[in-house]
Subunit: 224 residues, 2 copies
DNA sequence: ACCCGGGATATTGTCGACAAAGTGAGTGTA
DNA sequence: TACACTCACTTTGTCGACAATATCCCGGGT
């Protein structure tokens, strides 16, 4: 069920390579395999009980989304989590998700917007009753729908297949603050309002700001 | 030497898989392998005289930058060039390169800006003397430096490893107009001016407009 | 004539073995 | 002692063979 959240609807693992890739990725994102670790192909192939070719493909895919860095004839290692890395990542994320919000305001159907509104109210109930798992699942759901709403397949791919897992890695491994939860909810509400009004410019600006706040929140932890 | 232009400085092919990947990519981008073609692993492995594993890796990498689409147990085929695809691609490109220009205005060193200016004047000489190869090499060089100037490794990777080859595929296979060359030069000049003045907002806006014009230019051909 | 099912064929997915490149310890020399 | 070289070992890169899945053709039934 939690597994649902970290693998998006689009990626249904069919082949063994897919499963191993997703497994390895979540192990890294969740910190089971620590940041900076060297990834030995033979070692991993025994650990995950698949051939080295499968592991190689998984590592290559992880290199594509910059979760690991690979050097020819030397090997691959998990990226380190640094303040500079976070900054650069969130610069890109802010731009892309801002664009997603703008396009979503233009391209989402009325039905999709209605669904987004009801998603938000169900989240409101959860926040009210104190179920704080909103942080993870709810937030991902919210951004997920807006990104899909952009209807731009390149953008969707860049975010879901590309930077999102790295974003999650920073968030999971550095933890998230408490007070942020309710304020984030308000920000979500305003964004949805802008989208409902088909106000693309405002939606982009609010989304950018929302993500900027989110970065500041994580950054506070990293500095320690 | 022309090969210099299509493989960026960062990617020095060291392994056989690298070379095959780059070769296959340029063959697709240049249209030697036509858009929409099915890519047979066995066929390509004999054609390029390497093992199927090498071809598989190359195809996987091409799938990462969305030059081919792969389906499990079915195969991979080169993407089709459509007006919708061009629109979506250039939406993303406009956003990312606009961001690059903004960051470049903030982060490039004075020396790098000076080099960029002299690059521009050398291009001016070429345009004046009528050497129209400016289209290809010069334009790529220009954008190349600004993207590097952003100093954001995620952004750089997204553009160079990601969408740039697909952009080139549209440009190469649909040809480029004539009159556009000189006007594009003027746009470049204004962008460099903005960067020289450290005017990030203006640099972003001019870059976005520059790319938007470029898209319109290609689009005109595609509609036929 | 049309539709459905089954088997032959071709293609992709997975594996273990071999080749090549990098790494590090140990030795000999200045 | 410090440096450079060699050689053994570890790790990655490449390959061909086998397994699993999809595709296509053909025959039988309604």
């Amino acid at each position: 069920m939690m597994n649902f959240r970290m693998t998006f609807a689009s990626e249904q693992p069919v082949t063994a390579a897919d499963k191993t890739f997703i497994q390895l990725r979540t192990d890294i994102v969740e910190g089971v395999i620590q940041a900076g670790t060297k990834l030995s192909e033979t070692e991993l192939s025994t650990k995950y009980a698949v051939s080295r070719a499968i592991i190689r493909e998984a590592i290559n895919r992880l290199a594509s989304c910059r979760i690991v860095e690979r050097k020819a004839n030397i090997g691959a290692r998990v990226v380190a989590l640094t303040p500079e890395g976070l900054d650069q990542l969130y610069q890109v994320r802010e731009s892309l998700e801002g664009m997603a919000a703008r396009l979503a305001a233009q391209n989402m159907t009325d039905q999709e917007i209605a669904d987004l509104n009801s998603l938000l109210s169900s989240h409101f109930d959860e926040v009210k009753t104190g179920e704080s798992y909103y942080q993870e699942a709810g937030d991902v759901d919210f951004h997920y729908r807006i990104i899909l709403g952009s209807k731009n397949s390149h953008l969707i791919s860049l975010l879901f297949d590309g930077i999102y897992h790295l974003v999650r890695m920073y968030r999971v491994q550095l933890g998230m603050a408490g007070p942020r939860v309710t304020t984030a909810f308000d920000e979500h509400k305003h964004i949805v309002q802008a989208i409902s009004n088909r106000d693309a410019e405002l939606a982009e600006m609010l989304m950018r700001r929302h993500i900027w706040y989110s970065k500041s929140n994580i950054e506070r932890k990293l500095v320690n």
